[in-house]
Symmetry: D3
Subunit: 278 residues, 6 copies
Amino acid sequence: MDALDRLIDLALDEDLGAAGDVTTVALVPPSARGRAELVTKEEMVFAGAEAFARVFHRLEPGASVEFRVVDGAQLAAGALVASVSASLRTLLAGERTALNLVQRMCGIATLAAKAQEAVRGTRCRVLDTRKTSPGMRALSKLAVRAGGAFNHRFGLSDGVLIKDNHLVAMGGDIREALRLAREKAPRLVKVELEVTDVNQLEDAIAGGADVVLLDNMNDAQVAEAVRRVHGRLQLEVSGGVTLERLPKLAALGVDFVSLGALTHSARAMDLSLELLPA
Amino acid sequence: MDALDRLIDLALDEDLGAAGDVTTVALVPPSARGRAELVTKEEMVFAGAEAFARVFHRLEPGASVEFRVVDGAQLAAGALVASVSASLRTLLAGERTALNLVQRMCGIATLAAKAQEAVRGTRCRVLDTRKTSPGMRALSKLAVRAGGAFNHRFGLSDGVLIKDNHLVAMGGDIREALRLAREKAPRLVKVELEVTDVNQLEDAIAGGADVVLLDNMNDAQVAEAVRRVHGRLQLEVSGGVTLERLPKLAALGVDFVSLGALTHSARAMDLSLELLPA
Amino acid sequence: MDALDRLIDLALDEDLGAAGDVTTVALVPPSARGRAELVTKEEMVFAGAEAFARVFHRLEPGASVEFRVVDGAQLAAGALVASVSASLRTLLAGERTALNLVQRMCGIATLAAKAQEAVRGTRCRVLDTRKTSPGMRALSKLAVRAGGAFNHRFGLSDGVLIKDNHLVAMGGDIREALRLAREKAPRLVKVELEVTDVNQLEDAIAGGADVVLLDNMNDAQVAEAVRRVHGRLQLEVSGGVTLERLPKLAALGVDFVSLGALTHSARAMDLSLELLPA
Amino acid sequence: MDALDRLIDLALDEDLGAAGDVTTVALVPPSARGRAELVTKEEMVFAGAEAFARVFHRLEPGASVEFRVVDGAQLAAGALVASVSASLRTLLAGERTALNLVQRMCGIATLAAKAQEAVRGTRCRVLDTRKTSPGMRALSKLAVRAGGAFNHRFGLSDGVLIKDNHLVAMGGDIREALRLAREKAPRLVKVELEVTDVNQLEDAIAGGADVVLLDNMNDAQVAEAVRRVHGRLQLEVSGGVTLERLPKLAALGVDFVSLGALTHSARAMDLSLELLPA
Amino acid sequence: MDALDRLIDLALDEDLGAAGDVTTVALVPPSARGRAELVTKEEMVFAGAEAFARVFHRLEPGASVEFRVVDGAQLAAGALVASVSASLRTLLAGERTALNLVQRMCGIATLAAKAQEAVRGTRCRVLDTRKTSPGMRALSKLAVRAGGAFNHRFGLSDGVLIKDNHLVAMGGDIREALRLAREKAPRLVKVELEVTDVNQLEDAIAGGADVVLLDNMNDAQVAEAVRRVHGRLQLEVSGGVTLERLPKLAALGVDFVSLGALTHSARAMDLSLELLPA
Amino acid sequence: MDALDRLIDLALDEDLGAAGDVTTVALVPPSARGRAELVTKEEMVFAGAEAFARVFHRLEPGASVEFRVVDGAQLAAGALVASVSASLRTLLAGERTALNLVQRMCGIATLAAKAQEAVRGTRCRVLDTRKTSPGMRALSKLAVRAGGAFNHRFGLSDGVLIKDNHLVAMGGDIREALRLAREKAPRLVKVELEVTDVNQLEDAIAGGADVVLLDNMNDAQVAEAVRRVHGRLQLEVSGGVTLERLPKLAALGVDFVSLGALTHSARAMDLSLELLPA
């Protein structure tokens, strides 16, 4: 059972409980079948087709879910996104869980698109972070890509990122930290170092960091970092970044800007599932 | 394994993968122990003590997590919320997952507090909805209560709520729907009916609904509904509700106003976990 | 994976172990297919079609299970209930688990039918309780409905039922208990109070109980309770109830009588699965 | 997670749902602690100490459960069986699940004791079957032993039992079936053959069966089988056995009598969990 | 979910992580389909068809896996074993996990065939042990049978085997140990006793052991044991057994020789999965 | 539940079944406690302390497991590795599973040590592969490190490795494959390319590969590759590598040599768990 199934099962369990959908069981016979349409209620970048479909397939393997659009599509309000044919009980029992997933993913994709748009014409890429809703890591990262932005590490195992807390934990020697990381980590992951002071950049370069994260620096500090590094490693800006500040940061020549808000504070988009009369 | 453990396991699995935290494993010996503090970075209503602690206990059953505040506390920026003592590897591996949970819960509690404050002095109660992040239903409902607002149904099994889609599914006869619900549902759940037109209120009363949900009505329609019902059942307003509109709705005399935004669009609050030097 | 699948997996695991059905593996080639019939060996009300079918589908998704009757059917001995086509190994490996489920469910349905029949012509309804075999809550409740009786709460979350132990736990003040329950429980659950003395009825009514459970009262006490309440709330009788006493209790005018024996002591009905010669 | 934990989790999940015990959460503060006693309400053979304790430990690892009696004890009505100290919420949330387990196990143990008593003074042993409540196989078998009776196979993997359906499946040649079983099954399991006609006994002996199950035979047939076999293999009687018939069967000299009713139709014993005032 | 699915899920989880196959996701569109062939790279006895197929079905239920050979087939190098049609992403993501399973199973089957061949013409049977790779018990036992050798106990529940550590644990009295085992174990399992000294054989026979395991004995001791037992029970040799010694042991007249190396030290066979150009 | 617990549960389930350890249950009372020692029976590099201990803690959380050595220790035959104190039932039930884990891990560590020793004095590092026993990925990689060798990718998500099958799947253009990988993969993973012909090296360098895997090349080809690359990227040799060939390959100046045999064909080391008399 993959992570998406685990999340959907968890969501269905918390919504249905062991007793199930008491309203639908009381009102709708088990044999009745129906059709419903997923429609947008506002403008958005769409994401979440697989997650949406999976909810209904989890409840009824033979349910039919047909999408008119793909992840990444720019949609107007009122657009028909998908239609679902299944037993009425499946449609009604799965509606809320499916919407909860897709509304959040569209929110992330829409915000990611705005952010990447803000750096258009530069080589800067907008990255997500690990600040995702628990259980929604893969879906959140997928939505970011649907919006045209890019993924940072997926988790703690596909990249080394040495942060302030790591330096506190091992005594603070940057070069030793970089040496250990390069010696002990699996061979195909890169090593990134978080710095809070541009004077740490020499250690980063000497220690062989692949990427440096400039944490909570103002524009002048970022500019200074770009100047000092001079292309010897990649630079990422993180902390205190807003949509408004993005063009300025990109113009300074950094490789990446990461925004936690893409995944931790995107507003849910409005979509609804409308049952068609028989 | 309860639902919270399932969510935490899912979150830890997606963050740690099978390979684990490669940074920490490279830099920090397994026997090293440490202490970290959870502190607020902005003003908020706190929620999520149990979820936060559970993450560390899941990684290390003997970890010590001590809270200085309880769910529902109103905190200033810079407040010390909790301190955690555990192996350094546990602290570093659990940090992001624990923060992802608590930052969202504090966001919900803070918004719920604002919403309930907006109806202070009336008998109106602000309710949440089922529009929660998948897997976070119980935590979201807990955060709503921590903020001083109230819970609507937990899920599909602890209450009957007959919505538009149900009426479409069974042919649209309100009284028959209410009769079936009262006949077939378990004996201790109430029956709520969603209406989109005040003219449906007579059927609701005659059919024995316990609560009526007024869906997407304007203030005049809500006032008319209150007048017609005259206390014979409880009234809930839902749809198109903002913090600004809440006092007006409460003044009209409705029993409940429900807001999906409490749980689907609350901004994550800023808290951080800071490792103390040895 | 829903609760029924979890129960079936548990049952198959305990029966098959990791080594599987050593008899069948030794005697029957994996490619051999067969057909078997489920037949009654005594008169009964049938229940359990979905559970029976699910066992074989769990072992072999493509197995065909066709029912001649539906849950709730009154059957004579020797009736053909269903026929199953699958690999012989599936038929032989699933036989016992499928029968264990359906024999118990038919036992409950048959007893529930007798109980509801005993109150025919009155408005009294026979209810089940939570005294179900662990893991079989939903199946037991389904069997009760198949027999024509009714469901009390499904579990601890779809209704408030304040019992003696709760009053002991919080100090015994009935009105305060009712106030707390109405204030804090989700909005769509009703509140029931267990009373052991008719003098507690005034507190129940004043505190806003929706239902009162008369615990272990004799007929005179029940009659007195009906008289005092006079329709202001619903009354349920529980404890010391036998099939013989049911008509008397119904005649006294109570709304519900609940019987633990429906689910905790129903005798298993006799059905068998007979393999047809090739 | 072992099978008992899986069953208890399933039972707690179905009782608590994702929303939990709404009554207790409303009435009892999380920090309140209490003590409760498990007492018998009728005479019985006790069984189920571990299962009962495990429920509370599953909810609260630090709960204290102290037993005054062990499995197999013969108890009068009103006996104190165990006392439990835990948070009040744990006591109230676990009560029903713990009782549902132990009431069924005591029912089985009590019936098993009556059955084994009925063959006292003979070498006949009363055996259980696989007709157990789904998920309760191990607990049911344990209860049978607590009552002083004996266990047949645990499941399909710890013994070969060739039944009528197997012979139908592979064409009906008893000697070939026995040969295959002895050739292919793991080396440490015995081979039992079900026969419906005493004339099949010669094939059973010649084929090397270790045990023969005499299915649904009357006393004369059983006596004839004992005479013909003359100790060359063990004999088990099954089908149509009642407590009344047991002494007669034992006197005929069979080795085993198996009763499905021990586990499929034992009445639940009456025990209750009583909260002590603070 | 059966044990094989659990193992495959565990293997896929550890290989794919939550982030999935980043190479394939980057290079291959989700809609592209392909075909691959499983071919041998050396001579072997094949085993593992079901496990191999299951990996691809787990990733994509509609994948087609067609085998040209069955378990137990003797194959030359370069033989086409199976062809798989599925999405390219499925083929690439499942390749390593499927090969890891089948390469080990073929290694076991090939070694088992050599071992059983070494005792050809005698009544001696080569048995496996419980020294299997964790999670691969059933697959390892299946591979042993595919190679033509035989299975000892599957696990701890389908046979009693009293070893040295058990005697240490209960004080060392062989007859008492055998008595307890026969009295308390389920009725259809045999009782085997491990002996390290031929003088223990009398106790084994008197105590009613079905099988005796001669542990780490030299040829002279084994011969003496065969002489003393004289067919009154079955004899198994274990410990210090090599392929070279097998014929000698078989010639001495023992019933079984068990080899841990069959499953704990078989070399993985070389097979590869080759994608066919579109 | 982490991956190690899942593997151990799977191993315990397959060994214990639902019926448990019938030998131990028959012979040893549940309250008896004991002590056992893990000792080596041959020379080895030890690995697996955590896995070994976890088995006993899984069966009995309060079991005490004390190690005298750490992973990576070089041990003679007869060395005392650890002592375990627990209930006798735990010791006997967990013995085989714990040994099955640790014997394999020691086998891998011992072989890894030999391999890394063979390249001593060069900058070449011996790497493992993903050819691990299903479910044992993390344990196998840990054992490799214990032996002093190094880890390649953990799985499919912590590094891009473009193999022959990927090129077949996407049409064979190396530069396009490298471009896609760099564009779409998460930011902190490196990109490795498998080449079978030294003429592909220019594309690898031009396309920005971080590492090149030289597949099944002879010494002359490897030397030519080293010459052509001239340090512009890292080189790994894989396929057809034996312990004997390692020094030669290292001397040619490659960065890494990977050996599947480290994890797919290491012989299990001999260790035993000996119960101490009370």
